[in-house]
């Protein structure tokens, strides 16, 4: 049979999370189709068709899918589910929103946030904020899976899949999109950035985050935050890295004024290199940092900026 990957996109751009989910799907060993549900999303479908390993791209272009509202997404995926024995989505806030509905209606369990495909029916997934890894085997008729994209490489370009329109399912008519307030930033997105500089409670205010912005601009980095900094209102919720926020694994993660609560470490401990700046030398973040600087961040960050300027950044 075949596997179906639900694409993550914003009607204009296909997100990297989709290419990573395709890689997980390919590892299941069956042919891979991608469903692009959106409005005016033809360009996204073309991008999906170029991913290596994708055999066919299905496009449901309809106003009810423009914002991937969960109830119409459920109806659409269920209308196609009969042709597939595995359905995968990235574990983004969209995937987490509609996928359990699909699993429940198919009367099968969902396997959340897989880290690894061990075999076609066996997967590794994190529990307890990543402090334990569970290996689970499913005997369900259909596999419904969300994928933690940080542990899979993006599928390369080079494919030339066929694109086929599919009809919209009837809108259940019980929910509707009202509005959204998206953070605008010229910087890369947290989940795809190669470098991330994050601030914690130690930043003391939202204004002080501009110190991190300056370094981020030099390094083409994304800016993140700990839960404490978000709860304190320094930065918006979409900055949050951690167990219940975003999970990231960049080449370099710089933690500034972050003590290193278990819940924060859960979101960043798979980064390739971790650097930490904190004035408390006992801070748990130093136990996992490759490079630790015990210093007052209000002195260290301007110095770091100056040093980068000197080096031509």
């Amino acid at each position: 049979m075949t596997s179906l990957v639900i694409a993550e996109h914003d009607n204009k751009t296909l997100k990297d999370a989709t290419a990573k989910t395709v890689t997980a799907a390919v590892e299941l060993g069956a042919p891979v189709h991608v469903l692009v549900a959106g409005q005016g999303c033809g360009g996204v479908a073309e991008a999906a068709a170029r991913l290596a390993g994708v055999e066919k791209v299905l496009v449901a272009d309809d106003a009810q899918y423009a914002k991937m509202v969960a109830e119409p997404m459920e109806a659409l995926i269920l209308s196609l589910a009969g042709n597939y024995d595995a359905i995968l989505a990235p574990a983004t806030t969209n995937g987490k929103n509609y996928m359990p509905r699909v699993a429940a209606k198919l009367d099968v369990p969902q396997i959340s946030e897989i880290l690894k495909v061990v075999s076609a029916d066996t997967f590794e997934r994190p529990i307890y904020a990543g402090n334990a890894i569970q290996t689970v085997q499913t005997s369900a008729a259909k596999k419904v899976i969300t994928v933690r994209t940080t542990t899979f490489k993006a599928a390369a370009e080079g494919g030339a899949a066929a694109i086929e329109p599919v009809s919209a399912a009837a809108d259940p008519g019980i929910s509707k999109f009202v509005s959204e307030e998206l953070s605008k930033s010229e910087r890369p997105e947290l989940t795809s950035a190669k470098i991330i500089i994050s601030g914690g409670r130690g930043m003391q205010s939202g204004d002080n985050f501009h110190m991190l912005d300056k370094i981020a601009d030099k390094l083409h980095a994304a800016v993140g935050a700990s839960r404490a900094a978000v709860d304190a209102g320094f930065v918006p919720n979409n900055y949050q890295v951690g167990q219940t926020g975003k999970v990231v694994a960049p080449e370099l993660y710089v933690a500034v004024g972050i003590s290193g609560a278990i819940q924060h470490l859960a979101g960043m401990k798979d980064s390739k290199v971790i650097a930490a700046i904190n004035k408390d030398e006992e801070a748990p973040i130093f136990q996992i940092a490759d490079y630790g600087l015990v210093a007052d961040l209000f002195k260290a960050i301007p110095e770091m900026e100056e040093e980068l300027t000197k080096l031509g950044y």
């Binding site: 914003d10 914002k67 969960a70 109830e71 806030t93 969209n94 987490k96 929103n97 509609y98 359990p100 509905r101 699993a103 429940a104 099968v108 369990p109 969902q110 959340s112 994190p126 529990i127 307890y128 990543g130 402090n131 334990a132 290996t135 689970v136 085997q137 499913t138 005997s139 369900a140 019980i174 929910s175 009202v178 959204e180 307030e181 470098i195 390094l219 083409h220 709860d231 918006p236 919720n237 979409n238 219940t244 370099l252 401990k269 290199v273 971790i274 650097a275 700046i277 130093f286 136990q287 996992i288 940092a289 490759d290 490079y291 630790g292 600087l293 260290a300 770091m304 040093e307 950044y313």
Partner: protein, 250 residues
């Protein structure tokens, strides 16, 4: 309008979990257990609705061992009116939990069910969405703000790019995110009062639900450990190491 609040008993969020040497699970012996933190936010939201006169009754539900009644007592001390304990042995998958909750919803006819977006033990993030689908109800997950209208609710949600507002018809399911509210601490008089509030005891069989798991846990293992690296003395040395030793600067 009646509001149902399912609450889960989990390892306290401050406890560092240990994987058992035989890899069958994590060590739960003599470990502090508490209400799942997201569920505290759910209880708080439900109690606030009652205080504002928008909810007529708040019912706390827990599915688990006998000790889960303590978790229900915590909800009652925060202001819930009564409890339902569905006694089960062993781990239940989110789908089984959702099926039991569906049966309870059919009996209780709530206008709103508020659940935590995920439990901090299995981190599944499924139950609320599954319950909504089984009932054919709409959902507002990862809620940041709730506004009740006439037969509808506007729910502002925390999403990857920022915030999104959806409007759902009631009855509906809402799952809570961190910034929805700050849960209260139960006062001593309220803890005493909670002891007198009723808790109904049930079993999955009362609802005709088979709770046998569909997934087989082959093992639970430790994640790869990271070692502490080196300390540097200055910001300049840090930049130098990142550039020349680690090679991670562009």
């Amino acid at each position: 309008m009646k509001v149902l609040v399912p609450v889960k008993r989990v390892i306290d969020y401050n406890v560092k979990v240990r994987v058992k040497a035989d890899q069958t699970g994590v060590d739960l012996a003599n470990v502090k257990m508490s209400m799942n933190p997201f569920d505290e936010i759910s209880v708080e939201e439900a109690v606030r609705l009652k205080e504002k006169g928008k909810a007529s009754e708040v019912v706390a539900i827990s599915i688990g061992p006998q000790q889960a009644s303590e978790t229900i007592r915590t909800a009652l001390a925060m202001g819930a009116d009564r409890g339902i304990l569905v006694k089960t042995e062993g781990e239940l998958e989110p789908l089984a939990v959702a099926k039991i909750l569906k049966a309870i919803c059919e009996a209780e006819q709530p206008g709103l069910v508020i659940l935590g977006k995920q439990a901090i033990d299995d981190d599944s993030n499924q139950t609320g969405q599954m319950l909504a689908a089984l009932l054919g109800w709409p959902q507002g997950t990862f809620a940041h703000k709730l506004e009740l209208g006439d037969g509808t609710a506007q729910i502002e949600r925390e999403i990857d790019g920022g915030l999104q507002t959806v409007e759902v018809k009631l009855p509906a399911i809402m799952t809570t995110d961190l910034r929805l509210n700050e849960p209260r601490y139960a006062s001593l008089p309220n803890i005493m009062k909670a002891k007198k509030k009723p808790i109904d005891e049930k079993s999955p069989a009362d609802y005709g639900i088979d709770t046998a798991p569909h997934l087989k846990v082959l093992k639970v293992s430790e994640p790869p450990k990271r070692q502490a690296g080196v300390k540097v003395k200055t910001a300049a040395e840090l930049v130098d190491k990142l550039k020349n030793e680690a090679g991670v600067l562009p």
